[in-house]
Amino acid sequence: MATEHQRIERQQVEQLARLARIALDESTLVRTTNSLGDVLALIDQLQAVDTTGIEPMAHPLDAVQRLRADVVSEPDQREVLQAIAPAVQDGLFLVPKVIE
């Protein structure tokens, strides 16, 4: 459903979905392409602003990352943390075979 103001092509959405590791079926892909176009039209309003010389803002109070002493602070909780995993074996998280 290409419009005059098409901001994003279907192939770009497919590429984004690959990058984001999200499977999109045909109908979702069409819907998503259209709605991403709406959102991109919104955020493109930023392009009209002159931001020359403005320092980007990452933290509202310009705080910097605090460092802590390099000492162990967390106990080993492997059993607890793996109890909620979809599949584990021998203390390892199980996924489909990666190397044939």
Partner: protein, 485 residues
């Protein structure tokens, strides 16, 4: 019992008018009886609540109670609660039993407060209507054909329906203030860094902030005091002492300078909502405050900047949900990539996926400067507007949302129509400022919220300003007719 405010409930417990078990059981009974109409809870933790209530009663008997010990409340289902499902409103975490407590959860537990359950929310806090929840939409107790707002819609709804005297919530772009406005309650988003984000499932880390919802400013002050404070586990949490937020509630407002931004009363604002907000401003004049017209010239850029920054941070934060270590995993994955792609496709809802993709776009090679960096620069322009304004005024006031609660489905398929719901709230998140909403009238029997924006760490003054208004108004005491019994 449910018509008592949270502060009155705490006082009644201290005066031994009833026990924590009695008031907890009372609220649990109400949830069973009424919540089928509102869907404000995802999980009700009745057994745990009664056990916590008994422990609170025992603590009081031994003379070790804090003021909030034994007071029931609800947690938004975004806070990790050890041994209790923490779903974040998503299929992705429908099976997630948290192995640890969020800092906010630990703090309320340490105070002896009693968790009734976990409240419904937009999926991963992405939404302004609660319609994106995997567990179905929450209904507004004032009109069940309308949305409660979002993302903290369940927290707002359960407080409005008197199913809990208070609830925790989070606000990334308006998710405390807008549902508070639409449900006729009081809610506060603190200064960024005031409350620990540890164990609070991340959406946009530079914007997310937890805060309380309750019926009155006094209740919110009590809940904020128990929630705020430095936490070494959150690297963005600020190391500042926590004042007694109730200490200044009754301060006189004579001489208070209230900034009224002209950009918050322009096109897009419902005329009846505007009138209610103007009435509240006149009430403040009667209390001795002075209104000062101000300008926040970059206001119109807040929504576009937010919809770059929030999706960019969300796409990074939500990459952890991969179907490997916890959460949803698809059936019979063909290979590792299929496991990732289908688990995420099936586990996330449409709005969450859309934001991840927008974020991936804004951060992708070649676009970073044009979008993310640009948005971060605009963010500073927005902050500078506020810094300039606070040189002239003590607080800023305006509407919380452009109109009262709207009907389910009425925003249609254009996501941007929903995004504009937060047009007056988003700028404070970008600037990291505290903001709150309190009831200031009704339009068509639906509540209207007055927004108060404060300077950094000025929550005590905002609560004072809200409390003095609540002493001379009764909007916050009104309840939806069907549940006021």
């Amino acid at each position: 019992m449910h018509n008592l405010t949270l502060a009155q409930t705490a006082q009644a417990l201290a005066d031994k008018q009833f026990s924590s078990r009695e008031v907890t059981q009372h609220y649990l009974d109400r949830i069973v009886r009424f919540d089928k109409n509102y869907n404000s809870f995802i999980t009700v933790t009745a057994d745990l609540a009664l056990a916590e209530a008994d422990a609170a009663d025992a603590r009081r008997a031994s003379g070790k109670a804090d003021f909030l010990t034994g007071v029931p409340f609800a947690h938004k289902d975004i806070f990790c609660t050890k041994g209790v499902r923490t779903s974040c409103g998503s299929r992705m975490l429908d099976n997630f039993i948290s192995p640890y407590d969020a800092t906010v959860v630990e703090k309320y537990r340490a105070a002896g407060m009693v968790m009734l359950g976990k409240t419904n929310m937009d999926e991963f806090a992405m939404g302004s209507s609660n319609e994106t929840s995997f567990y179905g939409a929450v209904k507004n107790p004032w009109d069940t054909t309308c949305v409660p707002g979002g993302s903290s819609g369940g927290s707002a709804s359960c407080v409005a329906a008197r199913l809990a005297p208070g609830a925790t919530a989070t606000d990334t772009g308006g998710s405390i203030r807008q549902p508070a406005a639409l449900c006729g309650i009081t809610g506060l988003k603190p200064t960024y860094g005031r409350v620990s984000r540890w164990g609070m499932i991340a959406f946009a880390s530079s914007l997310d902030q937890a805060g309380p919802m309750a019926r009155t400013a006094e209740d919110v002050a009590l809940m904020l005091g128990a929630m705020a404070g430095f936490d070494p586990k959150d690297s963005t949490c600020l190391d500042r002492s926590v004042p007694d937020y109730t200490a200044d509630l009754n301060n006189d407002l004579r001489g208070l300078k209230i900034g009224v931004p002209r950009e918050y009363f322009g096109e897009g604002l419902n005329a009846n909502t505007a009138e209610q907000v103007q009435n509240a401003l006149r009430e403040y004049e009667k209390l001795g405050a002075t209104l000062v017209e101000i300008s926040l010239p970059h206001s119109s850029l807040a929504v576009p900047a937010y919809y770059v920054i929030a999706p960019a941070e969300c796409s990074a934060n939500l990459s952890r949900f991969d179907g490997v270590r916890y959460g949803y995993r698809c059936d019979k994955p063909q290979d590792l990539n299929d496991l990732y792609c289908r688990s995420r496709a099936e586990g996330f809802g449409e709005e969450v996926k859309r934001r991840i993709l927008v974020g991936a776009y804004a951060l992708s090679a070649g676009f970073y400067d044009a979008y993310y960096r640009k948005a971060q620069q605009v963010r500073r322009l927005i902050q500078q507007d506020f810094i300039e304004a606070f040189k002239q005024v003590d607080v800023i006031m305006g509407p919380t949302s452009p109109s009262p609660a709207f009907a389910f489905g009425s925003k249609g398929s254009d996501p941007v129509a929903m995004y504009l719901e937060d047009i007056y709230t988003i700028a404070t998140n970008l600037a990291g400022l505290p903001g709150m909403s309190l009831p200031c009238g009704f339009v068509d029997n639906k509540p209207v919220g007055l927004q108060i924006i404060g300077n950094y760490f000025d929550e005590a003054r905002m609560l004072n300003v809200a409390h003095r208004y609540q002493r001379v108004s009764d909007w916050h005491t009104q309840a939806p007719t069907e549940i006021s019994l």
